[in-house]
Structures are given as C-alpha cells and as structure tokens.
C-alpha cells in the first residue's frame, strides 16, 4: 500500500514535470496552425474551423532562404556531432587507457572546459575567426561547436571506457590486434549507448544556438535556422504566423534524431545505475 502511494507520488511529479516541459512546445505548434488574430485572442485554444490557417507554413516553406538555413543548421550540427564523437571518443580512450606525461594535466584542462562557458571567449573567438578569414563560413561554427562539445563528451566517454573490463583490451593485445584496431573494433562498438547519449547532448545546444551564428556567420548564405527565423521578428511588427511555423518545423530534425538514439540513450543514462 505504501509502495503504491510512493509510486503514485513519483508519477504525479513526473507528469507535472513533463507538462511543464511539453506545454510551451505544444503552444508553439498549436498556434502555428492559427490565424494571427486567434494567436493573440485565444492563445490557449486549439485551432478551430474558423481559426485554422496554414498561412505561416505557406510563407515559411515558400521562402527560398529557409531551405538554405535548414541545410546550414543540419550540416553544421551533423558535422560538429561527428567530429565531437570521433575525437571525443579517441581522446577519452587515450586519457582512460594510457598513462603519459601530462595526462592528468590534460584531463584537468578538459574538465575546466566543462566548467567555463565557451561564450565567455566570444570576443577572442571572433578575433581569431577574423584573423583566419573564417567569418561567415560554416567551418567557423563547426570549429567552435566542436570545441564546445568535446570536454563533456570526453568526460562521459572516459567514464564508460573505464568500465569496460581490462581483460578485454589485454586479450586483444595478446591476440596481436594493433592499438588503433583495439579502439575502433573492440572498444568503440561497446561505447554505442554512451555515444548515443553524447550525441543527443551535443546536438541539442548546437541546433538551438543563436549566439555563435549571430556572431560568426550572420551572412545570408551561412545563416542557421534559429538565426533565419529572427528575420520574421521586427522591431515594430512581428510575423508571428511565420515565426511559430518556422519554429515548429525546426523542432522536427531534433525530434527525429532523438527518436533514433532514444533507446540507446536510455540504456546509456541508466548504465551503472541498473547493473
């Protein structure tokens, strides 16, 4: 009986939390299907026969630039994710497996990267990108996001790697498997759940970021979707239909990626907690 109460209590907390998390998104999606007047008049109502309108979507999808923005966001996010995962996993393996001069210092240096937000360095990053002639390129964003994602990725992955039994690496060494193959063929396949976790944690902030696209790649050819949406927001008039429609569309890729990784993600998050 007491257990039932406790489970009920926990569930009500979780349901409340889920509502808080989901409601804003629901509001955005709901209102994106309404006429402008209804967005302001009855923001909490579902679209009805009179208020239903696709005008936002028509405008957004009819806008040639939106495609470019989408492509920019997608390419920057996916390439950053790939580099973070590849180099993060390799660095994590090196730090967890090999003892070399300065390895502790390096690990400490990387953990500082987790504590200090990268945005504090925005001005120097901008200077650097100007000097390197990388302003208004997607490469600038990819480099910054890789730097932003690496410390956390290394931290999580090296925890996972240290949980892989030592016998497995030793067995591979006795088998004469080269170190690089030990990493890619023995260790990496075992890291799948951890990699899924890191992938989601890496992608979401990159996809949602407004700051660095605004600073480093505000040009029309290199804008990301989050930046692109801002053109619908004016000082005096904001095209809410388009803003909400664009936001709704922008949710889709993250959702798809999350669904792809979610099973692995859950096993990654609960690893260690449930043996």
């Amino acid at each position: 009986m007491q257990l039932k109460w406790r489970v009920g209590l926990i569930h009500s907390f979780l349901i409340a939390y889920s509502l808080i998390a989901v409601l804003p998104i629901l509001l955005v999606v709901m209102n994106s299907f309404k006429i402008r007047k209804a967005i302001f008049g009855t923001p909490l109502a579902l679209p009805s026969a009179e208020t239903f309108s696709l005008v936002g979507y028509v405008k957004v999808l009819g806008n040639a630039n939106i495609g470019i923005y989408f492509f920019n966001s997608l390419s920057v996010t996916l390439i950053s994710m790939a580099t973070v995962l590849l180099f993060g996993a390799m660095a994590a393996w090196a730090l967890a497996e090999y003892r070399f001069k300065g390895s502790n210092l390096l690990a400490l240096f990387l953990s500082i990267g987790i504590m200090v937000p990268i945005r504090l360095g925005s001005i120097s990053i901008l200077h650097m990108m100007v000097d390197l002639n990388l302003v208004n390129t997607r490469l600038a964003l990819i480099l910054v996001y890789t730097a932003q994602g690496l410390p956390m990725a290394i931290f999580i992955l090296s925890e996972f790697i240290s949980q892989i039994p030592r016998d497995l690496r030793d067995a591979a060494r006795c088998d004469g498997v080269p170190e690089i193959a030990i990493f890619f063929q023995v260790i990496a396949p075992l890291l799948r759940p951890a990699i899924a976790t890191v992938a989601v944690f890496t992608i979401v902030p990159i996809w949602n970021d407004l700051w660095f696209p605004l600073l480093l790649a505000p040009g029309n050819d290199t804008q990301t979707i989050t930046l692109g949406i801002q053109q619908f927001i004016g000082q005096y008039i904001t095209d809410w239909n388009s803003v909400l429609a664009a936001l709704s569309v922008a949710i889709i890729p993250v959702l798809v990626i999350y669904l792809i990784f979610s099973r692995q993600l859950i096993s990654g998050l609960t690893a260690g907690a449930v043996k």
């Binding site: 016998d167 030793d170 067995a171 591979a172 060494r173 006795c174 088998d175 004469g176 498997v177 063929q185």
Partner: protein, 350 residues
C-alpha cells in the same frame, strides 16, 4: 613449443614490491601451475610473462629469445582469462579469427585452424553464436579455442575455471588435461585452487608474498613441503601444526607426542606437522593420545573429525568408513610415524 625461463624477475608498482627476485625454468611442453593465496603475485607474474605489464628488473626468455621488450603478440603466447574476455559483439568464429587477421595469415590457413580448434573443443555448432548466447562453460571453451588457433609457444591461463560452477569446473579441468596431452605445449596456469594445481600440474610453483616458496611435483609438495607455508597450503583440510620444544634430540608436544629429531638447537621451538589423513583414530584408550570430537563433517566415504586434544589444542583427523563418531565422543589417536613433518623455529623443514 618452447622452454621459458625467468631470471631474477622483480616487479614494483611505485614503492610496493609485488614480485621479488623470481627465477624459474620451465621445460618445453611442461604444465606448470602457479599457486598461492590471493595477492601473492601469481597473476602479476603471468601478466609479466604475457607482456601486458613491463618488468621492473630481471629478464624473461621464451625459447632462446629474451622477450622483455617485445609486445605480447610477438612473444608467441596466448592467454586465457578468468572473465573469458570474449569480444561481445563478435560471434564465436570472429572471436577466434580476429587476431589471426592481423597476423597476415592466408584465409585457408585461418579456416583450417578454426576448424581444427572447434573440433577439438566441440564448438562446431556454436561458431555463429554471440558470446551472450553461450553458457559459461561454452564461453570458456571459446576462450581456449581463441588461444589454440594462435598456435602459440606458450599457453597462459589466468584462473580460467574460477567463474564456472563446481561440476563444470571438474569436467573442464579434465578437458584441459587432455588438451595438454594432445597439444604437448608449454602451459603456465595460475590458480588459487590447490585441487586444480595438484591434478593438472607436472610441476607446481607455490608463491607467497611475491616470492617462490617451493617448486616441485605435486607429490613432492605433498610429502616433502619445504616450509610451513607450503605444508599449510597444499592439502585439504590443512595439515595440523603442533608447537613443540626440542630437548635431547626429541621434539615433545604438550599432549605427549614426541618425535626424534636429528640436529636442531637444544631448547628451541619447533613445529610438528601431521596431515589429517595420517592419523590412526580408535576407541578411547586404544591409542596414546586422547581427544574429544567437537564437530564432524561427513563427506560420505570419509569424515573430517574436528577434535580437541587433552592439552587444549584443536586438530582435524580423517575418518574412513560409514560409522563416523558423533560430537562429544571420546576417542584416541596415533600419528603414522612415517608421515610426520618437522619444521624449525623459522618454519623451514628439518
């Protein structure tokens, strides 16, 4: 196949000395078991031989080569781990062939070796399974198969049976013994289980606190233990140890057992060791030493009697036959004089 020799081998981690001055020669084709309590350094020694850890000083040679600075794969060894250490995402065949691919062997040679090893270990029907779909015993056979296909000079086993249940342990032990007869390879086997050591070994190396206490055939260790540690370690239940004082070339215990001794210092403390199976047990008054039964462990054909001597000392004697005494019975004992061991004050055999 090759001989293996260790010369004044030492290993330290920081200031902790794990192995001290280990010298050992292993003949071609010999089955040597390293045995000792946990923490005695036996697994570390195996890892040094495998090349998984660097040596601090001394040398290891396999065949005629000193292998100190060679990678594990170049040493022509194969190791079987306690945890099996199979690659979880590869099937049985891939587990066995993974290393061979990097050795640059032709495909026909690889499949010949896999076929041969899987026939030897009855793995033919399991080749496409993943480790998670195998039982413990099957996993261990795959791990052994992975070692066999390498056709190594020396096989290294690190407590390979510890994760198996009791009956499987016995049958796998027999398999290993058969495998050694078949392959005639040099094998080094680490265990803390003295039954495994006694049954498998051509020669046993007893280790304690990073040193070799004694090296010898199973029966040498059983009948002529070099010191108290080996005497206590080999044999189950443990050898009974009684303290005694040496007077007039005779060692006398508190309960009236006296044993003639050649040499030794007059008045010094010595230890008399008698294995439980080397007592003759009879009714009260039948034999010289009286004892009371405190506990009986019945194993079927034999029983272990935990007894208290009239001097207050505790000891174990073996009883053969069905009609074992009960708790509280008063009995009498005699020691078989040919099987009494004597150790001096430092624990060294006299």
């Amino acid at each position: 196949m090759a001989k293996l020799s260790l010369h004044q081998l030492s290993k330290s981690y920081g200031s902790a000395e794990i192995l001290k001055d280990i010298s050992l020669d292993i003949k071609n084709g010999e089955f040597v078991v390293l045995v000792g309590p946990s923490g005695c350094g036996k697994s570390t020694l195996l890892r040094l031989i495998a090349g998984l850890d660097p040596v601090t000083s001394g040398s290891i040679s396999i065949g005629d080569r000193i292998v100190n600075d060679l990678e594990p794969a170049q040493r022509k060894i194969a190791m079987v781990f306690q945890t099996y250490a199979l690659y979880p995402h590869k099937n049985v065949r891939e587990n066995m062939t993974f290393g061979l691919k990097y050795a640059g062997l032709p495909a026909e040679e690889i499949s010949r070796r896999v076929d041969e090893a899987s026939r030897m270990l009855q793995l033919q029907d399991l080749l496409t399974r993943k480790p998670k779909d195998l039982s413990g015993g099957q996993r261990q056979r795959v791990a052994i198969g992975r070692a066999i296909v390498r056709e190594p000079d020396v096989f290294l086993f690190d407590e390979p049976l510890s994760n198996l249940d009791a009956s499987l342990r016995v049958s796998t032990r027999v398999e290993l013994s058969r495998l050694h007869t078949l392959l005639k390879s040099t094998m080094i086997y680490v265990t803390h289980d003295q039954i495994e050591a006694m049954t498998l070994a051509d020669r046993i190396v007893v280790m304690n606190k990073g040193r070799i206490e004694q090296t010898g055939t199973p029966l040498e260790l059983y009948y002529q233990p070099a010191n108290l540690f080996v005497a206590g370690f080999i044999g189950s239940p443990k050898m009974n140890q009684f303290s005694a004082i040496l007077r007039n070339a005779t060692a006398a215990t508190g309960f009236g057992l006296s044993v003639p001794v050649k040499g030794g210092d007059e008045g010094s403390a010595v230890t008399i060791g008698i294995r439980p199976e080397h007592f003759v047990v009879g009714r009260e008054g039948e034999h010289p030493h009286a004892a009371r039964v405190e506990l009986v462990e019945r194993l079927g054909e034999i029983s272990h009697l935990h007894m208290k001597l009239n001097s207050g000392e505790l000891m174990i004697a073996e009883w053969r036959g069905r009609d074992a005494p009960s708790i509280g019975d008063s009995l009498s004992l005699a020691a078989e004089t040919s099987n009494i061991h004597l150790f001096d004050a430092k624990g060294v055999r006299i």
